[in-house]
Symmetry: C2
Amino acid sequence: MPKLGAEPIRRAALVKATIEMVGDSGSLDVTVAQIARRAGMSSALAHHYFGSKEQIFLAAMRSILSIYAAEVRGALAAAEGHRGRLRAIVRASFGPGSFRREAVGAWLNFYVLAQTSLEARRLLAVYQGRLHSNLMHDLRPLVGPRAAGVARGVGALIDGVYIRAALTPGNADRRSAAVLVLEYLEREMEGR
Amino acid sequence: MPKLGAEPIRRAALVKATIEMVGDSGSLDVTVAQIARRAGMSSALAHHYFGSKEQIFLAAMRSILSIYAAEVRGALAAAEGHRGRLRAIVRASFGPGSFRREAVGAWLNFYVLAQTSLEARRLLAVYQGRLHSNLMHDLRPLVGPRAAGVARGVGALIDGVYIRAALTPGNADRRSAAVLVLEYLEREMEGR
DNA sequence: TTTTGTTGATTGACGAGTCAATAAACTTGC
DNA sequence: GCAAGTTTATTGACTCGTCAATCAACAAAA
């Protein structure tokens, strides 16, 4: 029963289903049929809209990345001063939108995809570049020439905490994750 | 021409080939046939010795972990004082044995496997537990009650730097990776 | 009647694991 | 010393399942 204008709804449903499946199966070995079934349609329809499995994954990745970017933008808009903005970036990185277990699991798997797929690697580079330049913007005035090193450290620490969250059974604790990174930042800003 | 005593050689060859393949294909989607061919034998023989693909992967993971453990033990034996021992642990984590690009890539993929396979998760827990307790042993006398938090941070940071190394094209730079973590440690020991 | 939505059925490829068969190397009983 | 039997090494061919992608066909809007 074709209701018109189904395309965007179907696409969104598929992206959502993909993230959920990858997240809680913990692997990229998810079949198009499974994803499609979860999204309430046939696998043929999934192919109709996305063309290939890889495109489905990339769309899912783009979605995760843009949710994250939106959280950062939101947090940044409400923040005051360099310190405040840095804290906002870190907190946004562990915001509810991107720190649910499935999302973290999916993210980890997309890291792996990035080793294989050029387009995925490109997406990830965009994410890392954005994070880096966001951090640099507020770090430079505070720690001068050490900014690059600190930004690198914060980036790595965020990724590391993410991995742990994906591997720790039970629901990940975003409060303490954020605190850990914030304390790192604080110490880097005090010293030297 | 069956030379007797082939089993250990074959097993080792398969493990080595697995790590290499997973590392530079950047994915767990490696067929038993590919691994076997790389190790210079038929896929049937790989099954004969390991029984299943998962067992091959687990053996590879065990191998990676034990190489790492050996490097830590070695570094620790030559270290003096709490500070020296902590530094040794960090340096060993980025030692040549575990920081070749393929090994890092393989490690990242095994992280993913750990979400799916109980046995893999168990292995990873052993690694994390060992690292944690090693760190705690020398951290407690230096930072007292803050030891647990610092150990957590160092662990996460090491993992994060690993991910970056796996995803950064070109040869990963272990010198600067170690320095980054060491500076983190240093700062944590000075402060508070 | 053309466009948009939708699916069941099918294809074609690939891959894990099994099996039967072959052969060299050791063991044993004489 | 050696024939007969056993264990270990090894593979090509095969089975059985799965899965991405395609297609033909049907249904409802426009």
